[in-house]
């Protein structure tokens, strides 16, 4: 057996091992995190990088929003800290929305990795923290400065010594400071876990550096990605747009896709300008989700790394809502960011004719509830903050119905109702599929869901609405009909807003009706047995079977 082929087998094994190392890094973080969005929803990322800052492997976590943001982050750290200023035992951090992941709540921690006293690469991870000061998590700020503490790229540890000044600044500027500082230390610890495993692997395979392995990974990934993209129509362009609710006025997202020199370029020209509110998106985040949408449909099996992501390019004019610049407020950038996969998928279908899913409910219906006692003499001990993730329906696929009450593009989990009710004095009276909400089509859109929540006797609550698709329903594709738009109201009939802070008094019940996904293909082509089943299951009514599908249910 030649040394060449042997080396090849070893490198395959090591590539596998690296992916397992970053998965382990990520799972350590999930189990120690205080922030519900990290532990319940996997809102985190972890990766290993070569000496030049190129990402070699990344954990697959709950949030595609970190796909590209992670890939670019380490370059910024190398540029600002400088190789000469990096020492064994160092740990760096930032929450710069434009160098990290798009908002101040995410903290990115980078640790240099040394072997035999020489720098060989980096570990990085990112997680959402419980609080970052300012107005709290919500869209109401008018400038970044109101959204909380901004941490430029800084050393958290130097040669193993913690930067106490930095820790003290953080501790004095955030709510729940024990948890926030605990989470930041966890981020550093999870890089350390990865580093230990990497060094074990390098011992086992007798490696002094990572560069040969990096080239092997990049070469194979680049080749596979090039093959996956080779059939795209060179030189052709396509355009798609989508209307959304925005904060107080509708927002248009627009994209032009083009193919040139083996790369696919998404240009957000034509998209609405920045909003005065915190729904703006830094380009790095829009890029992450757009890239995720394209990658899912074009090259799903290729792991994320520097080379496999390189052919997916995203550009946008300055100061459009998907390319907001500092100091625009960006706190809930996830709302619009999570629509970019549907946006680019629509353009991809026009570009290639390939079948892509219909539009879905898109962004999560995250609900942050702050419960307060109505007793005049109540102290703050009965206060409770409850965070819940809820999902509407996804768009129908060419071969399959959409998924009911399932997150897309986010990969988060919901929390058990029983667990949420333990966090504070609320009762969730209903959390059930929303009949008649899936868009009709040959394949039906996924159903949304209905949620009813009230404060318990003697309490009231405020909630921070960050919902969309209330005024603009998810559209069908290829002749499929739109899914049902969402609705925010009280059960007494009062209509509420889809964005911003609102109150639910004692004795009232909040009613959330989440959007359903769009249908795919003409309703007339739907299999009759499936229509009969939809009626039997109560997904649609008999009348709808007749009016939408011209089908007489028994």
């Amino acid at each position: 057996m030649s040394t060449q082929t042997l080396a090849n087998v070893y490198k395959q094994v090591m590539w596998n091992r690296l992916i397992s190392v970053v998965e382990e890094q990520a799972s350590t973080l999930i189990r120690t995190a205080f922030c519900p969005s990290v532990r319940e929803a996997g809102d985190l990322s972890a990766g290993v990088f070569d000496l030049e800052g190129r990402m070699m492997a990344q954990a697959v976590t709950g949030t595609p929003g970190h796909v590209n943001t992670m890939a670019e982050s380490v370059f910024h750290f190398i540029r600002e800290i400088g190789y000469d200023n990096m020492f064994e035992g160092d740990v760096y951090l930032t929450n710069d929305p434009w160098k990290g992941t798009g908002h101040l709540h995410d903290i990115t921690v980078v640790s240099p990795s040394f072997r035999g006293g020489k720098l060989i690469g980096f570990f990085a991870c990112t997680a959402h923290v419980v609080d970052i000061g300012g107005r709290g998590f919500g869209p109401d700020a008018r400038e970044l400065y109101e959204e909380g503490l901004f941490l430029p790229i800084t050393k958290l540890f130097e040669r193993g010594e913690a930067n106490q000044t930095l820790v003290s600044i953080i501790r004095n500027n955030v709510r729940e400071s024990d948890q926030v500082v605990g989470d930041i230390y966890s981020l550093a610890a999870c890089n350390e876990v990865g580093n230990r495993r990497l060094l074990d692997m390098m011992d086992e395979f007798e490696l002094d550096h990572l560069q040969d392995l990096a080239e092997f990974i990049f070469e194979n990934s680049a080749k596979a990605t090039a093959e996956a993209l080779q059939n795209l129509p060179q030189g052709k362009t396509s355009y798609n747009e989508m209307m959304l609710d925005g904060y107080d006025q509708p927002v248009k997202l627009a994209v032009t896709l083009s193919v040139a020199d083996g790369a696919i370029v998404a240009d957000f020209d034509g998209t609405s300008p920045v909003s005065p509110f915190g729904i703006n998106v830094p380009l790095i985040y829009a890029k992450a989700y757009a890239c995720y949408g394209l990658k899912c449909s074009l090259a799903p099996e290729i792991p994320n790394n520097h080379a496999s992501l390189a052919p997916f390019k995203v550009v946008a004019p300055d100061n459009c809502i998907l390319n907001a610049k500092r100091p625009a407020p960006v706190s809930v950038r996830h709302v619009l960011g999570q629509f970019t996969p549907d946006l680019v998928l629509g353009a991809l279908q026009k570009l290639t004719g390939m079948n892509v899913p219909a539009e879905g409910s898109g962004c999560l219906w995250n609900l942050h509830v702050s419960v307060r006692s109505t007793a005049p003499d109540a102290d703050d001990s009965s206060n409770a903050e409850i965070l819940m993730f809820n999902s509407g329906g996804t768009g129908a696929r060419a071969e399959f119905d959409g998924l009911s009450s399932t997150a897309f593009p986010s990969g988060v989990h919901t929390m058990p109702v029983e667990a949420s009710e333990h966090v504070g004095p609320i009762t969730i009276w209903r959390k059930e599929l929303r009949p008649s909400s899936g868009g009709a089509g040959k394949q039906r859109g996924g159903l949304g869901q209905v949620i009813e929540i009230s404060p318990n006797d003697g309490f009231e609550f405020r909630f921070n609405a960050m919902f969309d698709r209330v005024n603009h329903a998810p559209q069908g594709r290829s002749g499929g009909l739109a899914g049902a738009a969402g609705r925010v109201s009280l059960t007494d009939g009062t209509t509420l807003k889809s964005k911003g802070t609102q109150a639910v008094p004692s004795g009232k019940t909040l009613l959330l009706e989440l959007p359903g996904g769009g249908g795919h293909g003409a309703p007339a082509e739907r299999n009759r047995e499936l229509i009969a089943q939809d009626v039997a299951f109560g997904y649609i009514t008999r009348d709808e079977a007749k009016s939408l599908y011209n089908f007489d249910a028994e």
């Binding site: 596998n16 189990r31 120690t32 205080f34 876990v193 990969g411 599929l433």
Partner: protein, 699 residues
């Protein structure tokens, strides 16, 4: 040997698996075993055939049998193949779709076309009732009994055979569930009814509802099978008590099993873990990782101080590449294992990045790996092992199947080699390294999740393919001791004979430590203790059980609890401080350092009662060893050295205690071959077990 020759009772372990039904008869110190093909239409027939065979081999009569201990995959299979009873599910108004909405996530991020598993009970069979219990266990909305009466008519009319009842927060207050059961049972005496506060009183509605539905769904099938089995055994003159092994690795009565059949899931693998635990005890091994590799999957379990790790929940029927989240959660106490799609039959190929991939797809027994020459054209792990000289083509499975090395080589080159410019041997090496790496990664990740480092552990390997791959796994994991016990081929059935009467109960009872009185802690533990004792006393009589009690704790604000072992006896107020310290110590072991200044919460509690086990006979350690050599040798590929080496071939039967075989070697026996790489030596133990020891230790 006759029964009279021994003082010990004659016990028979029976494990019904997907392909084989394994029978192990314990007579004094020896085990007589057999494998017969599983009979799907009449599983009890295979048992009887097998029992007759071992009884004859042992030279005793069926009437000499004192006890039958049985484990079966029938409950799991009924669930996976959806062959259960027609079942209605009754739940709280507003929560009809909990089973269908699951956790609202996609188990595979990058596949736009995933299809979610169908809920066990379809929507038209799910009914809601007006009632509501609060998160404090108080009645928020009283039960609408009129509505229940009306529902009884619907259920009667639609002819359901079984009913599952699951209400919100019933783990705190099961009165509404019990009341609905009583009303319905009075009206529908023939229908079997399961309630979630009895089957699985754990918080998290999706998992609890799924568990009670699974119980109800398989209950009529299992009830009828078990009663048939007991009758048939009696008819054949086997009049002894029959007990069942459950997923937690303990023994329960047939009656109890029939009431809670969901507890029978995964009892086969649990038996395997008990088998390894028994070996661990015999050799006084405190830290053990068991490795069970068969045709389709590999299972890895941690065993410390002779006790397999347990969990409160697991997932069955993973529908998408064994991926977490693609199956059905079942919340019952279970021996915790990781299972990955890696076995002798796992198929190899290359992916779009020209990387070798192995499994989870398996060639199974039909058509089998390419070397079987039964129509399988794709290479499996067994093909790679054959090309690398690890298997003897003429003596595989006791010569039952003649293997073709040429067929293996052709398949490997076609599916792997030609894409990567590798010859057959290099391809085989790649396949074998990838599958070993996958298993090592799974083992490592499992250890990390439990806050352990495997380097100090001993591996105990069993199952057909395990002895072939175990030593390489040890090299990758830095494990320096590997035990290959005797009877490894029927490990689960033997494990059943080693299991105590034992039952574990779990309950969610949320408490913040600082606000909780010692009395509350004692009350919760007492309640669980009586429940567990009641079950084991049914089988074991009035014994004084051995207790294991645990609290699952976390810092307020976290979502992941870690198990903390509790002291024996009642808690006093002073003991609470000690509990907090114990938590901090456990937390540090898992995650490196405790967190100051945060309150501590207890989320759930488990109590396990077991019958005291007779002291196992320790295997005396070897006084001396003597190097044994074999004149026969063949070329066997050593993965760590990446080349063929001259390995001696030794028949296991010819080795006596104290024999030492210097690696590289292959120890061959009827069911399998143990590969001893160059970096290991074998020491034959006093009970015939093979201990492979790294040369680092003996040097």
């Amino acid at each position: 040997m006759t029964k009279d020759a021994t003082q010990n009772p004659v016990r028979v372990g029976v494990d019904i698996g997907g392909t084989f039904t394994d029978i192990a008869l314990e007579l004094g110190d020896s085990i007589v075993s057999t494998k017969v093909l599983t009979n799907y239409s009449a599983p009890e027939q295979a048992i009887l055939d097998g029992i007759h065979e071992v009884v004859q081999k042992a030279g005793i009569s069926v009437s000499d049998i004192d006890m039958v201990i049985h484990g079966t995959t029938l409950a799991t299979n009924a669930l996976i193949e959806r062959r259960g009873a027609s079942t209605a599910f009754i739940t709280t108004e507003g929560f009809r779709d909990v089973l269908e909405m699951r956790t609202e996530n996609r188990f595979e991020q990058y596949d736009l076309n995933i299809v979610l598993p169908k809920p066990l009970i379809p929507r038209p069979d799910r009914f809601t009732i007006n009632e509501r219990i609060s998160a404090k266990g108080e009645v928020l909305k009283p039960l609408d009994e009129k509505q229940v009466e009306a529902l009884a008519d619907v259920i009667a009319e639609r002819g359901f055979e079984s009913i599952a009842i699951g209400f919100m927060h019933s783990y705190l207050n099961g009165s509404h569930e019990a009341r609905v059961r009583d009303i319905l049972q009075a009206r529908l005496p023939e229908v079997s009814i399961s309630i979630s506060s009895e089957v699985s009183p754990q918080m998290r509605e999706y998992e609890r509802f799924n568990t009670v539905c699974a119980n109800a769904y398989v209950r009529p099938v299992i009830e009828s099978y078990l009663s048939r089995l007991v009758v048939r055994l009696k008819e054949e003159g086997i009049d002894c008590p029959v007990f069942m092994i459950h997923s937690g690795g303990g023994i329960i009565s047939v009656q109890n099993a029939a009431e809670f059949p969901v507890r029978l899931m995964e009892s086969g693998p649990a038996g395997g873990a008990m088998f390894a635990a028994d070996i661990a005890e015999r050799f006084s091994l405190d830290n053990v990782v068991s490795f069970d590799m068969g045709g389709t999957t590999a299972k890895i379990c941690l065993i410390e101080d002779g006790r397999p790790k347990t969990a409160k929940t697991f997932e069955v029927d993973r529908s998408y590449r064994f991926k977490k989240g693609s199956g059905m959660p079942i919340s019952i106490p279970v021996i915790e294992m990781v299972e990955i799609g890696a076995g002798g039959g796992s198929l190899a190929g290359i992916d779009s990045m020209n990387q070798i991939r192995v499994g989870p797809e398996s060639a199974a027994s039909e058509p089998g790996p390419a070397c079987y020459q039964r129509g399988g054209l794709r290479p499996a792990v067994t093909d790679a092992d054959l090309v690398l000289g690890r298997l003897d083509a003429d003596n595989f499975a006791g010569g039952a199947i003649q293997l073709s090395t040429d067929a293996s080589s052709t398949a490997l080159v076609k599916e792997v080699g030609q894409h990567l410019s590798l010859d057959a041997v290099s391809s085989a090496y790649g396949v074998s390294e990838v599958v070993d790496e996958n298993m090592a990664n799974a083992a490592r990740a499992h250890a990390v999740e439990n806050g352990k480092a495997l380097e100090t552990f001993t591996m105990i390997a069993f199952g057909g393919a395990a002895p072939v791959h175990a030593a390489r796994l040890c090299e990758k994991l830095g494990v320096e001791r590997l035990m290959i016990p005797k009877s490894a081929g029927v490990g689960s059935a033997v494990g059943f004979l080693k299991a105590p009467f034992g039952y574990e109960v779990v309950k969610s009872a949320f408490m913040r430590l600082e606000n909780t009185s010692a009395a509350q802690i004692n009350e919760t533990l007492d309640e669980l203790s009586s429940a567990a004792a009641a079950v084991i006393n049914e089988g074991a009589g009035d014994i004084s059980p051995v207790w294991e009690r645990r609290a699952f704790m976390r810092y307020a604000g976290q979502g992941w609890e870690i198990p903390v072992d509790l002291q024996d006896g009642a808690y006093s107020e002073q003991d609470k401080a000690q509990l907090a310290e114990q938590f901090a110590a456990t937390y540090t072991r898992f995650f490196g350092r405790p967190i100051e200044g945060l309150p501590i919460e207890i989320v759930s509690w488990t109590v396990k009662a077991s019958s005291p086990m007779p002291e196992v006979e320790k295997v005396p350690s070897l006084a001396d060893s003597k190097v044994v050599t074999s004149p026969i040798a063949r070329q066997v590929f050593d993965s760590a050295l990446a080349k063929f080496v001259d390995a001696q071939i030794v028949e296991r039967d010819t080795l006596s205690a104290g024999a030492r075989v210097i690696g590289p070697a292959v120890v061959v026996e009827r069911e399998t071959s143990t590969i001893v790489p160059t970096s290991f030596d074998v020491f034959v133990q006093n009970d015939g077990s093979l201990l492979l020891q790294s040369k680092n230790l003996t040097a």
